[in-house]
């Protein structure tokens, strides 16, 4: 008697996000559970962890925001290797507003988000027509240039940076701020990409010439996406600045550019949830591996390679597919 594994997709009824799904509790739960998971995880479980881990999860969420922002840009075909640009600009705006004008975090955060998004968009506007690796090169170089600019001209505190900035009222407060922001970005972007507005963005990624010939100004649309993406990155920077009570050259460091890409690749691109999952695996993992000392990077790199080779589609795509499938053993002759 031989057995074989059979895979069946769950009915379209339960998978559609339409009104049909509201006909039974089971189907509603089926749809709600994966959406409730991140909310419960970020807002309930993480605050229960120790102070040390809370701090780890705060920096994880900062990277996750950068990864979600990266994922938005890639949805429009914009390959960014310079998330540090957004982080650094947001960080320096919030830092200087606080340092020179004494504005508190409640003001600097929104200002840095919008102004940072606008400044980064303006900086990248001239190269928005470039595609793929060409756009990526420019994004990679810009933060490194700004870094040296700060060092050479000694503006904004030079190599010392701006220190002694106003912290958030309490660690718990900052934890909730960043987790809520992360959830807002996650669900907001997922919803946006599901709308007709997002459909056009996906279209640009698929074939920009086809979108052009549909009478849509793709450069204006890409500018909007770039603004949204860089605003989220700038918010992460502004938040990190107040959390560390410091704005300085490390804000433009390569870490902020590379980690989001790694997180998105491990987690699964184009889903927003994937990069978030990726960040929540990679950043804590890097913390855990600290015990290994110098070998840390070796194991970290090994993990990345195993993941990319073993699950090239990313964790989220894999889990999502499995969630929508039944598997059972059937007897064959």
């Amino acid at each position: 008697m031989k057995r074989r594994k059979e895979r069946i997709d769950r009915g379209i009824k339960a998978r559609s996000e339409d009104i049909f799904a509201l006909t039974s509790w089971r189907e509603m739960l089926y749809l709600l559970a994966p959406r409730a998971l991140p909310v419960v995880g970020l807002l309930v479980v993480i605050p229960l962890t120790s102070a040390y881990w809370q701090e780890v999860f705060i920096s994880t969420a900062v990277y996750a925001l950068l990864a979600v922002s990266w994922d938005l840009l890639i949805s429009a075909g914009l390959v960014s290797l310079g998330q540090a640009l957004f982080y650094g600009v947001g960080s320096y705006i919030a830092g200087s507003l606080n340092h020179y004008w004494g504005l508190g975090p409640l003001l600097t955060l929104p200002i840095a988000t919008i102004a940072g998004g606008a400044i980064c968009t303006l900086m990248l506007l001239p190269v928005l027509r470039l595609r793929g690796i060409y756009f990526a090169m420019v994004t990679l170089v810009l933060p490194l240039m700004l870094l040296r600019l700060v060092e050479a001209t000694r503006i904004l505190g030079g190599t010392e940076g701006l220190t002694g900035l106003t912290p958030f009222p309490s660690p718990t407060f900052s934890l909730y701020v960043i987790q809520v922001a992360l959830l807002a970005a996650l669900f907001g972007f997922r919803r946006m990409m599901g709308s007709d507005y997002g459909l056009v963005i996906k279209g640009i990624n698929d074939s920009d010439r086809a979108v052009m010939s549909a009478g849509i100004n793709i450069y204006w649309r890409k500018t909007q996406v770039l603004f949204l993406g860089s605003s989220v990155g700038a918010f992460a920077g502004a938040f990190g600045t107040h959390f560390d009570m410091f704005a300085g050259m490390p804000g433009f460091a390569l870490d902020y550019s590379i980690m989001p890409v790694a997180a998105a690749v491990v987690g699964g691109m184009g889903t927003f949830a994937g990069p978030l999952v990726g960040a929540f695996i990679l950043v804590p993992l890097s913390e855990v591996l600290r015990a290994l000392g110098a070998l840390r990077i070796v194991f970290y790199g090994l993990f990345l390679v195993v993941f990319v080779v073993g699950l090239p589609e990313g964790i989220f795509h894999y889990v999502q597919r499995k969630y929508h499938q039944f598997e059972r053993w059937v007897v064959v002759e």
Partner: protein
Amino acid sequence: MNTEQGPLLKASNLTKSFGGVMAAFDISFEVRKGELLGIIGPNGSGKTTLVNLITGFVKPDSGRVEYRGKNITGWAPYRIVSLGVARTFQMVRPFYQLPAFKNLIVPLSSPRVKKLAGGKYGHRDAVALDLLEEVGFERDARVAYKSAGSLPQGYLKRLELAKGMALRPDLIILDELFSGLSLAEVASIVPIIEKLVLQGKTIIMIEHRLKELFRIADRVMVLNFGEKIAEGAGGEVMESDAVKQAYLGSET
């Protein structure tokens, strides 16, 4: 400037070279409203380049394009579309990840469609499904819901046509719509084009399938090596020596 009397589209002395290759040399032609103009020529004769020049995808080295008497030379493609000039691509360009009917949401989201509908987009999905039925996506078979990546060439060509029609254009340029299709498939698309003509649309068709083209075209223009070598009614044009030479080669 009286725009109703003159030609709908007028191209004068269009020239474009890529490196040393003359893709278009001094091409002039006109299309009147409601006319179906065919453009034929051997491979590499510059037909698609001409479409790109008219629709703004390629900027001409010299010459000008006028639409309804307005100079549109060098305009961005999306602006030319907004005036009512739609095109299809020879190499189909569907949005592969999307279901077929969602492909039409992109043109249906254009500023032109919004303006024509009186500032509102309305129910885009329904409009998209109707359009697909018009170009032959059988509603019962639910082909419209399949992802564009899984559709055979015949449906992709129809989808391409529907994407153009979704813009509610006055002039629609079909770049080798029939290429890669079987006789039966071509025969099923011809009535759709004839219907567009009856609706008063102006059509420019680039085509290799001469027999089908000559049956529906009012006038045919022949290109060879980027130059216009003949123009006239379908049958007559093929009698010209220059055209025979271009298609069959010269004897010397």
